[in-house]
Symmetry: C2
Subunit: 147 residues, 2 copies
Amino acid sequence: MADRELSVGEVARRCGVNVSALHFYEQKGLIRSWRNQGNQRRYKLDVLRRVSVIKAAQKMGISLQGIKGAFDSLPDARTPDKDDWAALSLAWQSELNERINYLERLRDSLDACIGCGCLSMKSCPIYNPDDELAAQGPGPVILDRKA
Amino acid sequence: MADRELSVGEVARRCGVNVSALHFYEQKGLIRSWRNQGNQRRYKLDVLRRVSVIKAAQKMGISLQGIKGAFDSLPDARTPDKDDWAALSLAWQSELNERINYLERLRDSLDACIGCGCLSMKSCPIYNPDDELAAQGPGPVILDRKA
DNA sequence: ACTTTACCTCAAGTTATGTTGAGGTTTTAT
DNA sequence: ATAAAACCTCAACATAACTTGAGGTAAAGT
């Protein structure tokens, strides 16, 4: 069938997530649906991309809240096109770069610091990395903010 | 006072964590203490390093469970020395490297994938990175396991 | 027609990592 | 000696991101 609309189970299967997760995302405002006669959810095809992007962003360490923030910058009226997604990608790419950078610094100081006395001191580079990432909202688990 | 032993408040202050966190770490078996006459916790100086290492490892994205696993490989009888910590560091360094690598791959495929149709397909490199990190236990937030 | 599968809602449970508060004891400072 | 600061335990709350289950409806297969 030339399905222009998808049921929740179909989306779940095609995206590799549980139906409950889709309910959850909808409740959080990350995806949208309408209902059919029998009150069942129906989705546009573009929900597949959204869910996929959610999963990709999560792998990057971005919270649902952060993802929602990014999604909110997508056009509301029309279905997001390639350029819309590219803009998102760009923003996240630099976030990823910062994160990678942070971990690299952590790695480089790890060996030097873990065995010496400095780890417990104020001066330790691991303990007090001079630069913190600018994370909006409640930061991802992997980072923490200025102590 | 030449304190060979520390109170919980002192450890908290020197490590920049809350007293409640120290209670919590103790309950999870990450640090140890004994009690004085009045039932108050007392710590050896080496607790400072332990707590610092906990915090550093957390920044790397390692869970408390994972940290406990690593700590369990430290000598039980004697206070861990430089070499013991160095071994830990080495293990974590390669874990960090894998993580960095993973994020780099994610970053590199992000732009190519997010705008195209592949994200929702089985073949997408973001969606199905061919190599998964070998994470023991319930993995860190930033990664997920073979779907 | 009838059964099975899919779906619905809403509340409660789960894991990780702590924090907060109540009610009570110890230490420390004055 | 007394008041303040620090500590104790234990239970409950907080947040993220979902999952599970109960009780009931809709759609699909035969």
